[in-house]
């Protein structure tokens, strides 16, 4: 049966901001709610595409440890917060911003997100920026699911169907209150995706050649990892010839 109503928010990208060792000053009341995570060793599946001898290779796992405590926003930037940046001239207007202020700011590109971080930094006198993919993975903890579940075998039809079913099953978290991870972060694995600052790279593991790095494409995290050009505001337009994504 078809539902009679549709959630306000479509599958779109929004931003999370990380601030490394922020200096909290007099404008602290406007400062985002931050979670500070103590450094710990964690296992990080690297971002990018990896080949060995020209054939797809497993993603290398690295043991990593943040060099210092990581301060990261507890939840996504909201539509109301983003609108304040627009009104202040720090951000461009975006078409898909929800009317409901408490909704995450959606349909923002990496460029929009970066502009927001720069504006917030100026306004609050502290350094805010997008998290790197490693930082996002560390903060997401048990919710970090970088690898899209693969159908067994190499049947392109079965792989496409499995990916489609997975996407179709995603739901937007209407309220972050019930889905915090063990670090107290909300909305990590809903139908929305979050920008990271990490550039796309393709690594040939055998040849010893330098990786191909393209910073016009950034790593996007959420229910699984993907890569999108930095100017894309609506992930439906992220290069998929299928067109409109599964409805959320």
């Amino acid at each position: 049966m078809r539902p009679t109503s549709i959630p306000i928010i479509a599958a779109t990208a929004f931003i999370a901001l990380a601030a490394m060792a922020p200096r909290i000053d007099e404008k602290a009341s406007e400062a985002p709610d931050m979670v500070v995570l103590a450094p710990q060793v964690f296992l990080y599946p690297m971002a990018g595409d990896f080949t060995r001898g020209g054939k797809p290779a497993a993603v290398p796992l690295r043991e990593m440890r943040p060099p210092r405590p990581l301060a990261i926003m507890r939840r996504e930037v909201t539509a109301a917060e983003y609108r304040r940046c627009i009104e202040d001239g720090g951000c461009l207007d975006v078409p898909g911003l929800a009317d409901a202020g408490e909704h995450p700011a959606v349909t923002v590109s990496w460029r929009d997100a970066t502009a927001y971080a720069a504006w917030l930094s100026r306004r609050l006198g502290a350094t805010y920026r997008l998290p790197t993919d490693e930082e996002w993975a560390f903060a997401a903890g048990s919710r970090f699911t970088p690898l899209a579940a693969q159908a067994s075998g190499n049947d392109p039809g079965a792989i496409a169907l499995a990916a489609y079913e997975r996407e179709a099953a995603l739901a937007v978290a209407a309220d972050g209150a019930t889905n915090a991870n063990e670090n107290g972060l909300f909305d990590l694995t809903g139908a929305l995706a979050e920008w990271t600052d990490t550039c796309y790279r393709h690594v040939e593991l055998d040849a010893g050649a330098a990786p191909v790095v393209n910073c016009g494409i950034r790593v996007v995290e959420g229910s699984h990892r993907t890569y999108m050009p930095d100017f894309i505001r609506d992930p439906r337009a992220g290069g998929c010839s299928i067109g409109a994504p599964p409805r959320v």
């Binding site: 078809r2 009679t4 109503s5 549709i6 959630p7 306000i8 928010i9 479509a10 595409d49 080949t51 020209g54 054939k55 797809p56 898909g96 009317d99 049947d155 392109p156 039809g157 079965a158 496409a160 169907l161 489609y164 079913e165 996407e167 179709a168 099953a169 550039c199 790279r201 393709h202 040939e204 040849a207 050649a209 330098a210 990786p211 191909v212 790095v213 393209n214 910073c215 016009g216 439906r236 337009a237 010839s241 299928i242 067109g243 409109a244 994504p245 599964p246 409805r247 959320v248």
Partner: protein
């Protein structure tokens, strides 16, 4: 099945002029030899909401029937995109488009059109498949609280639009508010390739394309209204731009994607009936084709073969037959890609089955570009390499 004789006006006129014999003539008209269409077997059809189609025979050896349908004009707010944009929709049976009716050539379509008292507008129905009275429109105009019954003979095989046409600017207003659908009149012997070979389908889907013209406020946000009449003035201005704000299948963006995607199996033959009551469209199946396509939708014409994209003229329906040969996800969309991707006219097929490597193989997965004489080379990068 004996050929039926219908009482003609000539017979009645003769009866009138021969007054002394009027009683005898009346008696003569009443005897079974002058079989009235009402004596035909009747079949009451329960309609189902698109994209599905009520059960029916593709070919039939039975004689003509009176096929009874009931459409209820339903005015109600409907959400047409993921942002929650809401229009005061006017519908047949509550869905956009209205349900697909299926009969056979030579059958009689007997439609009861109901306009519940809770509605605010007059409605009627114009069947492109019918002959006379503006497609039945002048015989079916019903005010809230009324119903009318129309019977017409399905004399031409094909897929045809039906739509509300209550006069003047109300005609486009009702049509772009959702009040349209289609009827499929199958040849009694079923579909054929035009060269004597029968064609069959394992599934049939009805895709109704709808263009919406939703007015915006000063800030560019879509406006909402309490009733269709409240929406009319603004909507008429938006309609006159001829630029739709939404072009969708089944009444809303994403109605045929995700959990509601259409399904099929490799080896199955699917008939896709596509209608657009107001505006041109260009259906295309990404990753597949139209094996047999009745682009203009009329089955007395031989279908075209192996099409990549076909054309649905505004105000018409077409039909495409395709046998899926490869599993996976297909997009069925209008190949004005702006309308498909930006405005919503995209559906998906989920097709299960075994991959055919002969038809397609990934010879080399995405990898660094191999320059001559070396195994890898740097691809262009928009920013300095920092690794």
């Amino acid at each position: 099945m004996p050929r039926l004789f219908e009482p003609s006006m000539d017979v009645r006129r003769i009866a009138t002029r021969l007054a002394p014999l009027a009683a005898l003539a009346a008696w003569a008209l009443a005897i079974p030899a002058f079989a009235d269409p009402l004596d035909l077997p009747r079949e009451r059809v329960t309609l189902v909401a698109p994209p599905f189609v009520h059960a029916h025979e593709q070919a039939t050896t039975a004689g003509p029937k009176i096929m009874e349908f009931r459409l209820v004009a339903e005015e109600k707010p409907m959400v047409i995109d993921a942002a929650g944009t809401t229009v005061q929709a006017m519908t047949f049976n509550g869905s956009i488009p209205g349900p697909l009716m299926v009969v056979h050539e030579g059958d009689y379509v007997e439609l009861t059109l109901v306009n519940p008292a809770s509605n605010t507008m007059a409605h009627n129905i114009d069947f492109h498949a019918s002959t006379g009275a503006l497609g039945g429109g002048t015989l079916t105009l019903v005010n809230p609280g009324e119903e009318a019954v129309l019977r017409f003979k399905a004399t031409r095989a094909g897929v045809f639009i039906y739509h509300c046409a209550p006069g003047g600017p109300m005609i486009p207003f009702h049509v772009v508010s959702g009040m349209n659908g289609a009827i499929m009149v199958l040849p009694r012997e079923g579909l054929s390739d035009g060269q004597g070979h029968a064609l069959h389908y394992d599934r049939v889907y009805y895709v109704g394309e709808q263009d919406f013209y939703v007015p915006r406020d000063d800030k560019g946000h879509y406006k909402t209204y309490k009733a269709p009449a409240d929406a009319f003035n603004d909507t008429e201005k938006a309609m006159r731009s001829l630029v739709p704000t939404h072009v969708v299948f089944e009444g809303r963006v994403g109605a045929l994607t995700g959990k509601d995607a259409l399904t099929a199996k490799v080896g199955e033959t699917v008939l896709i009936v596509h209608s657009e009551a107001n505006r041109d469209s260009r259906p295309h199946l990404i990753g597949g084709h139209g094996d047999y396509v009745w682009e203009t939708g009329k089955f007395a014409n031989p279908p075209e073969k192996d099409l990549e994209t076909w054309f649905i003229r505004g105000g018409s329906a077409g039909a495409a037959l395709y046998t899926f040969r490869q599993p996976g996800i297909y997009a069925y969309l209008t190949h004005n890609l702006i309308e498909a991707v930006e405005l919503g006219a995209t559906a998906h097929f989920k097709v299960e089955g075994e991959w055919n490597n002969d038809l397609m193989t990934q010879v080399k997965p995405p990898s660094p570009i191999a320059a001559e004489g070396s195994s890898t080379a740097l691809a262009p990068s928009r920013a300095p390499v920092r690794y």
